[in-house]
Point group: C2
Chain length 201, copies 2
């Protein structure tokens, strides 16, 4: 059985849990507390030298890291990842956008507000990150005003990747009412068969 | 003919130029000066709403963004991207690592040192980013001490993605002498057929 090393409040981990539920693939969940350094122990670094969750342990005992690489691996050959070469590249375009232009701002603002005491320098950096997060949400908004889903004309792992932190962006100080097309897309994602919430193990 | 919108000093753009040269695919290069805001004009935002280079214009007139998604698109069906499902996922694992754990530190430190006047807050942030960049180089070093290439047992788009900014990391204040296995890998990458330098158009 697949074994998923995860931290419960992580949107990156939620991406993988959501797809596994939608694919009806059973898995064992091993929860690690990143706030207690449980992903930086020698035992965990032997599994993922970058010391991050989610990390997936495959049935052959090897490990795969990076949430979006795990989504691609699990999605291959399913309806969640298109076959067409260009459509697949567009799925990846949105997934790299997510990790470079969205997550470091939308997710990190949420993490800092939920978990950290911010000194003056961090508060200034938070405001910068929120500006960049709004810019990323604006890029999604313009696309979703004209498309039901992010890539390939159907729900895919690109939607899962961007849903994970967008749907809890309010916890990072973002007002989703400014992004109505994105709000309508969040509802479409929530309406997919087998959808589970971030609180679902 | 493919048309590549690029900024000459960008490692992200270099990734695409390097692969196009190695695949012997002719392309037209359109240089944009990011320092003059040329990627934030209405005309360019119509091509890539995220306002970033590299952006590839395909022969059908559509656009593909995100350097690593472009590498995947161009690499599909070639020796630069393995066929095996798990090997492909490991290529993507390293490419997501590059965009999340490496580029924001190694490349951004280089960009700031080359192009910006840093005030006191930015200098503190630079030191933090250099710490994280060294951590990313350490993750690569441990892997490359035991592997000739990053994924799949052969030179791939994962090596191109990580070579781009690693080979100029000294310009970001990193000392590559601390990472000898990475230095040997840089030499192996440079020795691949059709290799071109970052200064090659």
């Amino acid at each position: 059985m697949l074994r998923l090393y995860d931290y419960f409040d992580s949107g990156n981990g939620y991406k993988v849990r959501l797809l596994l539920h939608q694919l009806a693939i059973p898995f064992e969940l091993i929860e690690l507390d990143i706030m207690k350094g449980e992903t930086r122990t020698p035992a965990f670094l032997a599994k993922n030298p970058n010391g991050r969750i989610p990390t997936l342990e495959l049935e052959d005992g090897s490990f795969l890291a990076e949430s979006n690489a795990i989504l691609f691996y699990l999605g291959e050959g399913t309806a969640f990842l298109p076959e067409d070469r260009l459509a697949r590249a567009r799925v990846l375009q949105w997934m790299f956008f997510e990790q470079y232009s969205h997550e470091p701002y939308v997710a990190v603002a949420r993490f800092w507000l939920k978990h950290m005491d911010l000194d003056e320098r961090r508060r200034a950096e938070l405001a910068e990150r929120q500006d960049r997060g709004r810019a990323a949400l604006g890029v999604m908004e313009r696309h979703l005003a004209a498309h039901d889903f992010l890539a390939g004309g159907a729900y895919s792992i690109a939607d899962i990747a961007l849903y994970a932190y967008t749907h809890v962006a309010d916890e990072g100080g973002f007002d989703l009412a400014e992004f109505p097309a994105t709000g309508a897309w969040l509802e479409r994602v929530r309406g997919q068969p087998g959808h589970v919430q971030i609180t679902q193990r």
